[in-house]
Symmetry: C2
Subunit: 369 residues, 2 copies
């Protein structure tokens, strides 16, 4: 079984294929979409060792001329030197305007190779082949690409839509469990912001999900991509409603930044950020406390942290202020009214932010059963 969805963006609409053992069919899907005759597979050294050969063989089997380039695994590769390395590999491989770049890997590879595709010869085709859960449900869909500067994450980039996304759920079997669980945080987020039914399903099937049940994974990834695709369709360049995708991210980003990136995975920081946002939502939008308890219970069952971390609150506040400025337009918190319904751009008084932080720092975990 596989699932296929189309992201509706007019002339830039693209298909998403999701299912087990899709990677060997990459070439066939590329041929279907007339992807040009040359392609460069960009990956990190870990993922390339596991899947680079399968991807390349599949592309060659349909007559494509391929080349491969790898960057070291990890966030530091989202920077200028690896980017230039990809440009040179693209030139060496003779990539033309009609050629394509295949981004094979997690979020780092997707963002980096995506930005390379967006800017090489002013833009060539991009095929996202996410191999982490986070990339499948989040970064591979939606068109955000970019790299970091020493001054901050994602400061350089482009909105650039892929021509195709292919998510082989079988690749999740080699994903470290901690990363898998961190990816689930974003799935929980989709439940909170847009789909109470998805939230229910996650609650009801936690053990099966953690055991990597193929059909179930396909379902929740597919539903996550649908929600993200709908939001992106309505607001491609992040001027409005796309902000709801940042539920839990205001504090989450600050936690990542203040803790120095690496201590928490993105999804873990978002899990804590969602608990905080839910508590704020209780105070501001009468979000039911029992639903915050459900959220905490679900996140804990998915092995995600729910207690506020031991970090300097003034430092977190400062980071949140900076994050708001950077993202512009959509200042303020995303808060939930009920499971499946949120509001964005909520400006909140600092006293409330302080108070809820203090309360959850002390009691966040103990409140959960």
């Amino acid at each position: 079984m596989t699932c296929k969805r189309i992201v509706e963006l007019g002339a830039r609409a693209y298909p998403i294929h999701i299912g087990p053992d899709l990677l060997p069919k990459l070439g066939a899907h590329c041929a279907e979409e007339k992807m040009g005759s040359k392609t460069l597979i960009v990956s990190d050294d870990h993922v390339d060792a596991l899947y680079g050969g399968v991807a390349e063989e599949s592309l060659r089997s349909v007559g494509l001329v391929t080349a491969r380039v790898t960057v070291p695994a990890g966030e530091p590769s989202k920077s200028h030197d690896p980017l230039i390395r990809i440009y040179h590999a693209a030139l060496d491989a003779g990539l033309e305007r009609s050629s394509s770049i295949v981004a094979l890997g997690g979020g780092v590879v997707g963002d980096l190779a995506g930005f390379a595709a967006a800017t090489y010869l002013r833009g060539i085709r991009l095929i996202q082949v996410p191999t982490s859960l986070l990339a499948m449900v989040d970064s591979a869909v939606g068109g955000k690409t970019g790299i970091n500067l020493p001054q901050g994450k994602n400061l350089i980039g482009a909105f650039y839509q892929p021509s195709m996304v292919l998510a082989d759920t079988a690749t999740l079997r080699t994903l470290p469990p901690r990363e898998f669980c961190a990816g689930l945080a974003e799935v929980v987020k989709y439940g909170v912001i847009a789909d109470a039914g998805l939230f229910d399903a996650l609650e009801g099937k936690t053990p099966e999900i953690l055991m990597n049940d193929d059909a179930l994974l396909e379902d929740i990834i597919c539903r996550s991509c649908e929600i993200k695709a709908d939001v992106v369709r309505d607001d491609e360049r992040e001027g409005g409603v796309r902000a709801i995708l940042n539920f839990g991210h205001t504090l989450g980003h600050a936690i990542e930044q203040v803790s120095g990136y690496g201590r928490y995975l993105h999804g873990e920081a978002i899990a804590m950020g969602m608990v905080y946002a839910a508590r704020l939502s209780e105070r501001e939008l009468a979000f039911p406390a029992k639903d915050t308890e459900r959220l905490i219970r679900l996140l804990k069952a998915l092995r995600l942290p729910v207690t506020m971390p031991d970090l300097s609150w003034p430092a977190l506040m400062e980071a949140m202020r900076h994050d708001k400025k950077k993202t512009g337009g959509t200042v303020g918190f995303v808060l939930a009214q009920s499971l499946g319904a949120v509001r964005f751009g909520c400006a909140l008084p600092e006293t409330l932010l302080n108070e809820v932080w203090e309360q959850n720092r002390d009691t966040g975990e103990s409140r959960a059963p």
Copy 2:
């Protein structure tokens, strides 16, 4: 007198202001278009010394917070290090998503600062303030931005439309005459590809143009921008008709490349390329020989070269082949049927290319009266 035109690109439509002494009104025009509160002026050291102060004062007079950054004048600045310098200046100036970058200068500054604006925070507003004739009639309009790699020109870039173009024709008075004339080559091109009337006007008013007549310059720049804007509107990302803008550029680019950039200005190489393309057009599309003679006469009157340069023909052929591959899609020459009407994508036999080269190498100049 000033002229205002709108480039019609749907949600990304933008105004072009053309006329003498517009630079002191830059701030007022920015305020009109609600350009955000912070702006970074990017320029080269030559242009900054002449006009940076006026531009900054104008922006400050309407309450904008401004900063300035300069790169060395010249093509080598279209590269990664100056780009990163601009990113850092943007961060130091606290530029946010709602801020803007002003590109004050010629084509190099416009392409470089344009690419910085396209990629900083995934894209902020860009205001093109071209100060060279070439930039006014060509590079500032149309949304091509980018930088060079050691392997070739414009290999990295983005299609990114400005929010406004402001061309102060008074700045042309400080442009070196040779550069001014090179810019006129592109104006002649617009006549050939789209407007026999413009061609006639250039023929009839050559002395006035060379004497920098304000009203006349405003007219021909305005008309050039209109033609370019129309073509770009119909083909923003260069899949089809935009190719006609490359009349004379197939050989022209090759001449620039083989001669090593610097020996000929872009417009000079294009002038020779147009003569060659016109001769090919005689053979292939029955373009009248007398119109080629008119073209040669006009280019010479504008102090532009019309005889084929003393360069290796095999090297030029190789460069043309490479150029075609790189630009993809639109393979082949742009040829004229008559003044004002061209066809693109004309594939020509190598024997014809050789023959016309040989003929014009010997007699190109002597044919002109």
